[in-house]
Amino acid sequence: MKASSLLQYRKDPRVIITAPLLIFTATSLVYYLIQQAKELSPEALSSRVLLFVLWNINLILILGIVFVLLRGVVKLVLERQRGILGSRFRSKLVATYVITSLLPIGLLFFVATDLLRVSIDRWFNTPVRALLQNSEAIAQAAQNRTAGEAESAAREIAEAVQLRGSADLEKDVSHVLRFHNVDLAGLYEKGIIVRLSTNPRAPIDELPEPSTRFFEEVLSTGWGRKMDIGPQGKWIRHAVRVRGPSGEQVAMAGVFLPNNISRLIDANIIAHKHFQQLDSQRAALKASQTSLFLTVTLSILFGVLWTSMYASRRITGPVRALAEGTSVLAAGGYGHRIQMKAADEFGTLIDSFNKMASQLESQRGELTESNTEMQSVNRRLDQERAYLSTVLESVSTGIMAFNDQLELLSINRAAIAMLNIAQPPGGAKLGGLLPDELASLREHLMGLKEQQPSSRELTIVRAGELRHLEVSAARLNEPGRGGWVVAIEDLTELVKAQKLAAWSEAARRIAHEIKNPLTPIQLSAERIARKFRNNDPGTAAAVEEGCQTIVAEVRHLKTMVDEFSRFARMPAIHLRQTNLSQIFEEVARLYRDIKPGVTVRTIADPTLEVVLDREQIRRALVNLLDNAIEATERGEILLSGELSSRGLLIKVQDPGRGIPETDKERLFLPHFSTKREGTGLGLAIVHRIVHDHDGRITVYDNRPAGTRFEIEIPV
């Protein structure tokens, strides 16, 4: 039965009304039968009809029990074979019900029926039997004695008739009536009264005449006895055959026992006969009582069995529904709900299950949505990662990523090519990744400590070739996952191009600078030659002036060549511990009071010791101050130095005319100068010195006016 139909069945008001009504009716019927059985005679109790009815009822009940039991067992076996949930629990429940009901009911039946049979046997084994036997014997003796008197009287009449014939019949009959204490005496012939005398006190009117058959029996057997019961008492008549002269006759005498005596006699006889009847019906009585008891027992058993099956179904219904629901839920059927309603704890359980299923369904939906969204995000991330990977693989810039433990996270193809290394495995240590040839790069990367982005140009030799690299590092600031992203730009070609351009420019400048003195030299030589050819009187003066000009220009050329030679022969730096404040003072002293209105001030910690090439730095600062003095008409030139997070920071600020933006790009190129007399090598030398210290120099506009040079040197 399905849960919904079971629910309807349970809630059907007809069942609710009919079931108690049937139970009440059956109980009333049994009670009525028991009450009626008390009034039934032993014959009725032991009648075959009653036993037949009871046996058939019992048979029907037994068949009903067997049917209910077999049906239940077969259904349970089939349910267990089909693996229907709850069948095992129901089997145990039914078995428990049946055993716990069968045992007491069976025990009660066997004990009670045995007790009943023993009690019935005990009824017939009491002294009542002897008492009734004796009573009947006494009554029979009294009746026999009376019958004996009638027999004596009849025989005397018969003897008298045989002796004397019918001559003195009246006298003989009267004599017998008087002396034998009988109430009736007479002679019959062929069933007709010949002579009959009666006691006037006896109710002769209620005495029927003997039947012809009686007379025939007397004549055939020689005697006969007849008892007739009338309203006032009992007649006992005895007849004997008489073979007289006139043929066969019947002599008869009778005694009347009035009711007060005859009823006593009859009562005794009847009492014993009833007892005998009961005794002979003992087996039937036991059978009827046992059958009646069996009927009640089987009815109870049937009811208990049916109820146990029904109750087990009711109890296991919710359990089964819950088990099935759980199974469906476990299989992923989150939309499953138990429709069964119950008012007991099962109802609470079912409600809880349905709530849990709803929550699971809701959470499942949310998870599915979240999963779909995550899949979408993952797909997008994969696409972005692939795109990023493609971009990284496509760019010419080498990209490497490290974690804080300097383990390689990723490296692109361009970086591998630039560094000329084999494809490293993920997680490779930086120390093992870069060979000794790249020691400068390795040391630079291993020295990354700052949070700020850093950039540095490195020159390395790979495969016998000089390479110029710009290494920029930026901090990875992912939560819980720090590290560095390093971008390596190969500047070799750019540097080559820049050098080529610089030398082109330098050549052009040199050519220009050489050309400039050549013109006065040429003009002086031509003037001297013309003067000399024309014998001009001013020849000597012209020679003098021309020679002076030529010498001056040649000297200028020589100076310029010396400067270039010096620039070309820049010595290697020699680093040592140096007091920065002292260098500042030495340089500033050279330029104090050199130009009216222009002052030089230095700011530096007198105790600050740094590692650098003292002479080279001093030379760079002289060049910078030289330019600052030249560019400043009035004001203070400030030379300051301090340690910052990026190393030693040296600033040279002047309030001069400043540098146009267009000139800033070429400022550090060799032989670029905005001065008429400048060689254009001063700032190029400064740039070279700073570069040799692995530092960098940057030019800014000073506020409110002028120029500011910042030199950063790692310490």
Binding site: R48, W55, D279, Q281, A283
Partner: protein, 145 residues
């Protein structure tokens, strides 16, 4: 016509039957008599059957036994007896002169069988069980008159 005669032995010696007879309860001996035709290697064919009942009721007040003789559930005759031996003889001796007709069958092919049902017992004190003798049968034979 077929006359049937037989005696039920040992019934008068049983005290339970005597007690039942003298208790005044109706006590019945039922005889089932069948006339069958024997068929070799096949089921016997029933030709005719009769049911005889001897029902005795004792009147303890008049000390008389009323014996009703029924055939096929119809009362044929009644008689009053006063002594038990005569009664038992009447109830256990069956003599029916014209019980069956041979009809179209040859007498030598016919068999008469009979059994008697006496008192009722109860199996396990509950299940009614009729005490019945086994079937006794004799072949029909012609009798010279």
């Amino acid at each position: 016509m077929i006359a049937v005669r037989f005696d039920l032995t040992n019934a008068s010696a049983r005290q339970d039957i005597i007690t039942s007879l003298q208790s005044g309860l109706p006590t019945a001996f039922t005889y089932e008599i069948q006339l069958i035709r024997k068929r070799p290697n096949w089921f016997d064919e029933g030709v005719a059957e009769a049911r005889l009942e001897m029902i005795c009721t004792f009147n303890s007040l008049t000390q008389e036994y009323l014996l009703n003789y029924r055939r096929d559930r119809r009362l044929v005759r009644s008689e009053v007896l006063r002594d038990l031996p005569t009664l038992m003889k009447k109830m256990t001796s069956i003599s029916e002169e014209r019980l069956f007709s041979t009809g179209r069958y040859r007498p030598q092919k016919l068999v008469v069988r009979a059994r008697a049902s006496l008192t009722q017992g109860y199996l396990l004190h509950v299940v009614p069980w009729q005490e019945t003798t086994s079937w006794k049968q004799v072949r029909v034979r012609s009798e010279e008159r």
